[in-house]
């Protein structure tokens, strides 16, 4: 998804940023770390925005470089987003963050989106988190994802073509795999 959006954004004043919630340890997925990672990607586009530079200087003088407070982070994020024509924020595996972090992240994103017409958020996760998303955003456009038969066949072909021991399998077994797996999975 990120790559597709990046292709569209090329040459335009559009930023595409991403965050993966799986594989993050409990400590890593603090709200300031996660939002900070989004702001960091927005800041990588050329000059670091003035607001961030100033906040950094101030933090360094005050307490040897302590991190940004959540409220400051949200405010700066709003300003940076406002300076771009559009921003896509893609967050993968939101259901794998802890309920508390998820709640904080959704609330902050809602605050950022509110009053901004140029922010788009793409979330992926298991269906059960929809209620939580609704709780923060009120409305959500949902696309249920299940692989099509074509998707499964392409995937199997790719896996079989990368088989490290291709001679261990005869044509009959190969044909069985290509027939049975798509059949069973499309019934799931």
């Amino acid at each position: 998804m990120i790559d597709r959006l990046c292709d569209q954004a090329e040459g335009k004043d559009i930023a595409v940023v991403g965050l993966y919630c799986d594989f993050l340890s409990h400590q890593e997925q603090s709200i300031t770390n996660m939002l900070g990672a989004i702001l960091k990607q927005l800041s990588r586009r050329g000059e670091i925005p003035k607001d961030i530079r100033e906040a950094f200087q101030k933090a360094r003088e005050e307490f040897g470089g302590r991190g940004l407070q959540l409220s400051d982070l949200v405010e700066i994020m709003k300003k940076v987003i406002a300076s771009l024509s559009r921003v896509f924020i893609c967050i993968d595996a939101l259901d794998e963050s802890t309920p508390q972090h998820r709640q904080e992240l959704l609330q902050s994103l809602q605050e950022i989106v509110r009053g901004s017409r140029n922010t788009r958020i793409f979330l992926t996760g298991r269906p059960h988190i929809e209620d939580e998303i609704m709780g923060s955003f009120g409305k959500v456009v949902r696309i249920p994802l299940s692989p099509t038969r074509d998707d499964i066949e392409s995937y199997l072909e790719m896996k079989l073509s990368r088989d490290t021991d291709p001679y261990a399998m005869d044509d009959e077994l190969r044909a069985d795999i290509m027939r049975v797996i798509p059949e069973k999975t499309s019934k799931m």
């Binding site: 998804m1 990120i2 790559d3 597709r4 959006l5 569209q8 991403g18 965050l19 993966y20 799986d22 594989f23 993050l24 890593e28 300031t32 770390n33 996660m34 900070g36 990672a37 702001l39 960091k40 990607q41 800041s43 990588r44 670091i48 961030i52 950094f56 470089g65 991190g67 940004l68 559009r86 993968d92 595996a93 989106v113 922010t119 788009r120 958020i121 793409f122 979330l123 992926t124 996760g125 298991r126 269906p127 988190i129 929809e130 998303i133 955003f137 409305k139 959500v140 456009v141 949902r142 696309i143 249920p144 994802l145 299940s146 692989p147 099509t148 998707d151 392409s154 995937y155 790719m158």
Partner: protein, 95 residues
């Protein structure tokens, strides 16, 4: 032998000093970015890209929901798109 150890330790210390020194004179930009967050989502993104098959899940890009969400420029569009599915259906690997 003892001298040797001391020497090698010195070399190591010098080496560390050099490393520290380089980090210190590292650009302010780098320091600011690190200060914003230690997370590096683009690393995980690279790993996802490598394991992806580009043709899979392309149908999603053709849906009205996706097109409206990504292309419409006015304010009359829901800003949030939620792609949901059971574990392993390929949510992470959409291109």
């Amino acid at each position: 032998m003892a001298t040797g150890n001391v020497n090698s330790f010195n070399v190591l210390t010098n080496h560390n000093n050099i490393v520290n020194f380089i980090t210190e004179i590292d650009t302010e930009e780098h320091q600011i970015l690190q200060w914003l967050s230690p997370l590096e989502p683009q690393r995980r993104h690279q790993a996802v890209r490598t394991g992806r098959l580009d043709s899979i899940g392309n149908w999603i890009l053709e849906t009205t929901q996706f097109r409206e969400w990504s292309d419409r420029e006015d304010g009359y569009v829901e800003p949030l798109l939620f792609c949901c599915g059971s574990p392993g259906v390929g949510k992470t690997y959409l291109r």
